[in-house]
């Protein structure tokens, strides 16, 4: 079973036509990979489907805009994957 990062990196590579080997856990989706907000919606859709979750993009954006969080917390891929794992775990806990 592939790791969350592997799945997310594959989604990004396929969705945005970015070479897979340039995507690392430390890549910033916006600053390093050049993904814009519309392309990120496609990524979010693919992640939502793949993991059965709903990435809270609006909440994250609001927190960044309000200065309560940095973009690194949500858009550096290792951090994004950690958030995904949390959401998957929360979903599993809710279902039990």
């Amino acid at each position: 079973m592939s790791s969350t990062f592997d799945q997310v990196a594959t989604i990004i590579a396929e969705t945005c036509d970015i070479p897979r080997d340039t995507i690392t856990p430390d890549s910033h989706a916006i600053d390093d990979l050049g993904i814009d907000s519309l392309d990120f919606l496609d990524i979010a859709f693919a992640i939502d489907k793949a993991f059965g979750i709903k990435l809270p993009l609006e909440k994250w954006t609001q927190e960044v805009n309000d200065g309560k969080a940095t973009t690194e917390q949500y858009f550096v891929l290792k951090n994004l994957c950690a958030r995904i794992d949390e959401l998957v775990a929360a979903k599993g806990a809710g279902a039990s």
Binding site: L38, L41, D42, A44, F45, D48, K49, K54, L55, P56, L57, E58, K59, T61
Partner: protein, 156 residues
């Protein structure tokens, strides 16, 4: 259709909040300056307007699902197929269903049929935000009234 106002939906035929589907009707005008150019001697409805018709249909569905608290805006046409010509005067039945409800965005599938036969289909992505001002909300309320939007289907 009121093409000159870009108001392409005439009336809502069905809105199913549980199934998250909508069906609307829209009659292409028999005459319009658009057909003088598209095309002289062979008038057909432009594909971009058919896509916009599907987007507006989905827009009404999303407005309903968001209880008229947020306004959807066209973000991306994922795939659109113009399978047959649409002529002046034809009556379109446009169906849309929600494919995915994300955070601040939604994706729908859409079909245009004429006399039961598929003419166009598209998958469309929308972003949505709280109504930016009361004027737009008021306008959408008035439009909803005009096309017979079933407000009783909304949450109290």
């Amino acid at each position: 259709m009121r093409i000159e106002y870009f108001q392409l939906i005439d009336r809502i035929l069905d809105l199913n909040m549980e199934e998250k589907t909508i069906s609307v009707e829209a009659q292409v005008p028999k005459e319009s300056t658009i057909f003088e150019g598209h095309f002289p001697g062979y008038p057909i409805m432009p594909g971009v307007l058919l896509i916009e018709s599907m987007a507006q249909t989905s827009g009404w569905l999303l407005l309903a699902l968001m209880n008229f608290e947020r306004m959807p805006f066209l973000a991306a046409v994922k795939e659109a197929k113009m399978r047959g010509f649409v002529a002046p005067g034809e009556v379109l039945t446009i169906e849309a269903n929600l494919v995915h409800e994300g955070s601040g965005y939604a994706i729908t599938d859409n079909k245009i049929k004429v006399a039961g036969k598929l003419r166009c289909n598209a998958t469309i992505m929308f972003t949505h935000i709280p109504f930016p001002n009361p004027d737009l909300r008021g306008h959408m309320d008035a439009m909803a009234e005009r096309i017979g939007f079933p407000k009783q289907a909304l949450l109290p």
